[in-house]
Symmetry: C2
């Protein structure tokens, strides 16, 4: 049995404002809940309609009814398991050789895919401008497939971050150098821009190098999706 | 004024069954409607709350009320323009040097992104297995950003298609050859598998070459998203 105020609190975590106020976020689904429990993220509470179905050790799982779950869940069809975790504190530390910087990425699916790409390519730090979509947005978490536990994501004014680094700053533009013929260094920062507007002018001025992924043939397509472009650039960094 | 039966017909085109029955599909939004009108796709009818806002020449645009639009639209918040077009007939022809073959891709956003990638990289033919998501699904069309007009997409039993080709067939697997050290030929077929299950066994047996995009570092991420993997492979094909 879960008290009404708690049901209400957890439901409210679908909204960014409430996540930030409480410092908590929600994860749903057996596999992702297990993955976050088994990471170094700090857990607030775990709920399950069938607690025995959850493969977690030494952790209390609160048994709930389907009705209670649907009162907490952000899904149309909740799937039995819901975990609430503390949003990790931003340390300001960077441990990765290459850092991905996001300048206003808006689509939750794109951010989720980008986090998953960083996990695959061993980029452990993402710095997001303050207007980038929140990485604890449920739609982002769904698209990360658990990669959120292995990549550090920090939000800060991007101009301040880029202004304070000694690393080369690569921005992606329509008119930059061909990435296929550019030798990338061992360390650096790769800046990806907003879906519609690309890299903002203020951030473009801070870039030390401009890159382009060349289009093939007739220049008909308008642009690459930002997650697709990130896939190609991280692949080039790690080759 | 649009008769009730027409409103109902157009609304029904949100469903694959009805699209196939009538041979029609729906596009929404000013920019995409304009792009499809100005392509070689055959138009059934165009509707607009403000016909003068649509930049199309020599084409009849039917003025409708917002209420009529919402009765036809698949969107929560319809945005003023809706076009109905004929689904192109499958010719069976292939004109592209490289062909992308999709084996059961299910997510509409992934298929839309893949179509957009083919447009960018000049791959003009996609062959989809019959269990791949329908490319005239509104969510696919939304993700293609108009690229659907520049890429030919055909649905057929993939085993029959692959069994009848003389081209090398590259499949993407977890245990294939490193794509970074494999020289790709000038022509071929690239097979991408389902989001969860990858390339099916029956199709895997028809592949002449097996490729892998190498992961960096600790092998923690489960897999690349199929659209991300497609981005990297098409980039490699065109380098």
């Amino acid at each position: 049995m879960v008290v009404k105020s708690e049901l209400k609190l957890i439901k409210s975590l679908q909204q960014k404002k409430c996540r930030n106020e409480h410092g908590l976020f929600v994860v749903e689904g057996k596999k992702t809940v297990e993955e976050v429990v088994n990471s170094n993220m700090k857990q607030y509470k775990l709920f399950a309609v069938d607690p025995d179905g959850l493969e977690v050790e030494g952790t209390q799982v609160i048994k709930i009814t389907s009705r209670e779950l649907s009162q907490m869940s952000g899904l149309k069809n909740p799937n039995g398991y819901l975990g609430v975790f503390y949003i990790p504190k931003q340390t300001g530390n960077i441990t990765s050789d290459w850092v991905l910087a996001l300048d206003g990425v808006q689509d939750p699916g794109n951010l989720g895919t980008i986090i998953r790409l960083c996990d695959w390519f061993g980029i452990s730090d993402i710095i997001c401008s303050t207007d980038t979509v929140d990485c604890y947005n449920p739609k982002v978490l769904q698209a990360t497939m658990g990669s959120i536990t292995r990549v550090s994501i920090q939000y800060m004014p991007l101009d301040a971050f880029l202004g304070s680094t000694q690393l080369p700053i690569y921005g992606t533009f329509m008119d930059g150098d061909n990435v296929n013929t550019t030798k990338l260094p061992e360390k650096g920062i790769m800046v990806m821009g907003n879906e519609g507007k690309g890299v903002s002018n203020a951030i473009a001025e801070l870039c030390t190098d401009r890159l382009t992924i060349p289009q093939f043939g007739g220049e008909t397509a308008e642009s690459l999706n930002v997650a697709s472009a990130t896939a190609i650039l991280l692949h080039e960094i790690r080759k």
